[in-house]
């Protein structure tokens, strides 16, 4: 049977991190399966966890009264979800819902924060990894806003 | 007319024949008798433009032109020279790449469509008074419109029967810069006939030579006499004075590195500066003897059963020119002027193995705001200095 540290090691987010760091973080982590339709996070509720998605699809969405859930992006095996646990007030900005069975590892936000405070070197390493993914997500969101496949490009001045 | 091969005719030694100016009409009549339509310089609308020539009386004898950036006037000369001016607003391309021509006609009945090519019965063309820069311009258009996988067949047909009488330039306008582009003032490409006009005291004659068999046949019909060494020297002196005039003028420059210069300077601030003045009026492209861009127009009659397609000259200065779904790729004057000049002087080399500019100066004279290509080159070069 694989240990939590093994599972962390397998996820791209932790690629290249020393074994000692993974062991150190393992105590924050638990293996966790979500069934189709279950929420990993709900908008405007405490953001207690950071998720490593091992397999399955997760929709990041927001609810629109006259349309229902509006999906902003889907996340897949190898992706991560959630950084609201990093900053006060630790509240989720969007819903995250399993679109099929999702196998994940979730790490406690408070636990991670504490580890990072006591081990700033590791904290900075993780922060760089978050920042890179956040930047990629921002770039993707910008491209999405461009509506590049539309029959007319966006009007000048409306690009993000 | 033969392919435009390079010749060394800056040397007058080969000009063995002398034609008295009074006998110039004999030359025109001889060409007409060979079944050609003769076109040459005529004075129309206060400009020396190309038109039909039936006799030497149609030529603008005793006239010259005064040219500067955005400025053109014709005025009287103090002598009776036939070719005592340089190039005007027209170029020969209007007879070879027609400004407006039908391509096909089409008809529709119910679900059936027919498309029929419109083929012109091409006339035999003769150009009288072709300058060296213009022969180069024709050679450049040949490379674009004939030496292609899919030639422009109308151009090719008009071009293949062309007879040219070239004239060595013995005077230059301030706008001329053929010395910079190595296209003149002496004729350096094969022409059926080439002449140099000489006015010396009371004498007025042409030294003339043939470059093709047909040219020689026509020469044989003329009242010629052998030229003397002194007459050849007089002709040579005229060409040299035009050359000196240009080399000492403000528009002569070293063009050997133009391609590299412009390839380095797609983002030069000079493009913004010139865009403040350029009206995007397309005059330069219409006057340019090598600009070849065209577009097509499709029309139907009122019944909706008959359609036609016409081709007409187009210009990279129009907003439609680069239109793709959603808008123009070259939306502003900066990008259009840059496209025109960079194509002419730089990318043309990669596409057609030569510059697209022959230094005729038309774009300078006929620019309503006097934008000067040679000055723009200088500005780009100066702005590049650290």
């Amino acid at each position: 049977m694989k240990t939590i540290a093994n599972l962390l090691h397998e996820h791209p987010f932790f690629h290249g991190l020393p074994e000692s760091d993974l062991q150190f973080l393992a105590s924050c982590a638990e293996n966790c399966v979500y069934h189709e339709g279950e929420h990993l996070a709900k908008e405007d509720t405490p953001a207690n966890h950071f998720f490593l998605i091992r397999s399955g699809r997760v929709a990041v969405e927001t609810f629109v009264p006259n349309r229902g859930a509006l999906c902003l992006l889907t996340l897949h095996g190898g992706d991560i979800f959630g950084w609201s646990w990093l900053f006060p007030p630790y509240i989720s900005a969007f819903d995250a819902r399993a679109l099929e069975e999702v196998r994940s590892i979730r790490l406690g936000g408070a636990c991670l924060r504490e580890k990072c405070e006591t081990e700033p070197r590791l904290g900075f390493e993780l922060m760089k990894r978050f920042a890179r993914i956040a930047t990629e997500r921002l770039q993707s969101a910008r491209i999405q806003l461009l509506d590049i496949y539309g029959s007319t490009p966006p009007e000048p001045g409306t690009t993000p | 007319m033969a392919n435009l091969g390079q010749i060394d005719s800056a040397n007058m030694d080969s000009y063995e024949h002398l034609l008295q100016a009074a006998d110039l009409d004999d030359l025109i009549q001889a060409i007409l008798e060979h079944g050609y339509e003769v076109y040459g310089p005529t004075l129309v609308d206060k400009a020396i433009t190309y038109g039909k020539i039936l006799s030497s009386a149609d030529l603008p004898q005793g006239w010259t032109d005064e040219q500067e950036g955005g400025h053109y006037r014709v005025k009287r000369r103090t002598d009776n020279a036939y070719f005592g001016y340089v190039v005007g607003p027209h170029s020969w391309k209007k007879y070879l790449q027609l400004p407006h021509r039908p391509i096909w006609k089409s008809s529709r009945q119910e679900q059936e469509v027919q498309i029929i090519e419109i083929k012109e019965d091409v006339p035999k063309l003769a150009f009288l008074g072709v300058r060296s820069c213009e022969l180069h311009a024709i050679a450049i258009q040949d490379r674009v419109l004939i030496e292609s996988d899919y030639p422009n067949s109308n151009y090719r047909d008009r071009r293949s029967g062309l007879f040219t009488v070239a004239v060595n330039c013995t005077t230059a306008a301030p706008t001329c810069f053929c010395t910079a582009m190595q296209t003149g003032p002496a004729v350096t490409l094969t022409s059926d006939l080439t002449m140099t006009e000489v006015l010396e005291g009371k004498r007025h004659f042409f030294l003339i030579e043939s470059g093709t068999e047909l040219g020689a046949q026509i020469l044989a019909q003329l009242p010629l006499k052998p030229s003397t060494v002194e007459e050849k020297q007089q002709a040579q002196k005229g060409i040299e004075s035009a050359e000196t005039q240009m080399r000492q003028g403000p528009r002569h420059f070293d063009s050997s590195d133009l391609k590299e210069l412009l390839y380095r300077n797609f983002e030069s601030p000079s493009w913004d500066k010139v865009a403040e003045r350029c009206l995007s009026c397309a005059n330069c492209t219409m006057a340019c003897p090598t600009c070849f861009c065209s577009t097509v127009e499709d029309t139907t009659d009122l019944s909706g059963e008959n359609a036609e397609r016409w081709e007409r000259w187009d210009s990279c200065f129009t907003s439609d020119f680069s239109h793709i779904t959603g808008g123009s790729v070259r939306a502003d004057t900066r990008s259009r002027y840059r496209q025109w000049m960079t194509h002419k002087l730089a990318t043309w080399h990669d596409q057609f193995d030569s510059s697209g500019c022959v230094g005729c100066g038309r774009c300078i004279t006929w620019c309503p705001v006097g934008i000067d290509l040679t000055e723009e080159v200088r500005t780009i070069r100066n702005l590049e200095q650290p």
């Binding site: 929709a59 999906c71 902003l72 992006l73 889907t74 897949h76 190898g78 992706d79 679109l99 990629e136 770039q139 993707s140 491209i143 999405q144 461009l146 509506d147 590049i148 496949y149 539309g150 029959s151 | 391509i103 096909w104 089409s106 529709r108 679900q111 059936e112 469509v113 498309i115 090519e117 419109l145 292609s148 996988d149 899919y150 797609f266 070849f292 861009c293 065209s294 577009t295 097509v296 499709d298 029309t299 139907t300 359609a307 187009d314 990279c316 020119f321 680069s322 239109h323 793709i324 779904t325 790729v329 070259r330 939306a331 502003d332 900066r334 990008s335 840059r338 496209q339 990318t347 990669d350």
Partner: protein, 268 residues
């Protein structure tokens, strides 16, 4: 060059405003063309539009063209019914380089209508004719209702890895929601052994090329299809000029290595 008259023998609506025409010439022998080349389609009295080949040349001499109605000419083509006639000039341009894929991983990256010029390559990959060690299609579109060839894609996935991503989708959509660069970034790509063909909006191609370069795909193995205004299609009219290239005859498919200098110059 005068168009040949072809007849519409089949018309299929892909989604509103986008349709596929199957054309047949009553008179001419079947046209020989390569994937990535294009035809000029003439709508009677209205004009011509440059449209890529979207079918297989072996389909009994048929021409297959997928068209989005967005200008005067394409809207006139949209009104054509079965049995109607239109003019066709072609084939023109340089297409996808199908030699040199053998043994390589082939990445086809399409955005929106950009799948149309890649469909003949998809067919060949599906048939195994390209002898690629692996063939994958990344297809980005606006929404699930604006996908091309929706009824064929389930067949493609039997022999091809197909990754689809839409900007906007609902719960019924089984693929990615987001942008196509994300699944491309997340995929395992053997950079040195990959050949990539891209066709789609220029912005999309720019971003995808950045991902490919990060993955170690050499510039010389990236090919893209460019779009500019085309009138004559034979390099005579000047409209599609792009740096020292005429898109119509030097392209529309270019090797990224050859054109990268021009790719970043705005308003060229």
């Amino acid at each position: 060059m005068i168009p040949e008259v072809y007849k519409v023998i089949h018309r299929q609506e892909e989604y509103p405003g986008t349709f596929t025409l199957h054309l047949e010439s009553p008179a001419s022998p079947p046209m020989v063309y390569g994937p990535g080349q294009f035809n000029m389609l003439y709508a009677f009295g209205t004009g011509e539009s440059a449209i890529s080949f979207s079918g297989l040349e072996v389909e009994e001499g048929l021409l297959v063209h997928t068209i989005r109605a967005q200008g005067t000419v394409t809207r006139a083509l949209e009104r054509l019914k079965k049995g109607d006639s239109l003019g066709v000039r072609g084939p023109f341009g340089r297409g996808w380089p199908l030699q040199g894929i053998e043994g390589k991983e082939l990445l086809l990256i399409a955005g929106g209508l950009g799948l149309a010029p890649l469909r003949p390559v998809v067919y060949r990959a599906w048939q195994g004719k390209l002898k690629a060690s692996r063939a994958r299609l990344f297809y980005g579109a606006r929404r699930p209702t604006e996908l091309l060839y929706g009824d064929e894609i389930p067949h493609w996935i039997t022999k091809l890895d197909v990754v689809m991503s839409v900007d906007h989708g609902d719960n019924a959509w089984p693929g990615h929601i987001g942008v196509i660069t994300d699944p491309l970034q997340a995929s395992d790509i053997d950079g040195a052994n990959t050949v990539a063909f891209l066709c789609g909006p220029e912005i999309m191609m720019r971003f995808c090329i950045q991902v490919l370069l990060r993955k170690g795909v050499p510039e010389s193995a990236i090919y893209l299809s460019m779009e500019r205004n085309m009138k004559c299609a034979i390099g005579l009219c000047g409209h599609c000029q792009w740096g020292p290239n005429f898109i119509c005859k030097d392209g529309p498919v270019f090797c990224y290595q050859d054109i990268r200098a021009w790719f970043q110059i705005h308003g060229l």
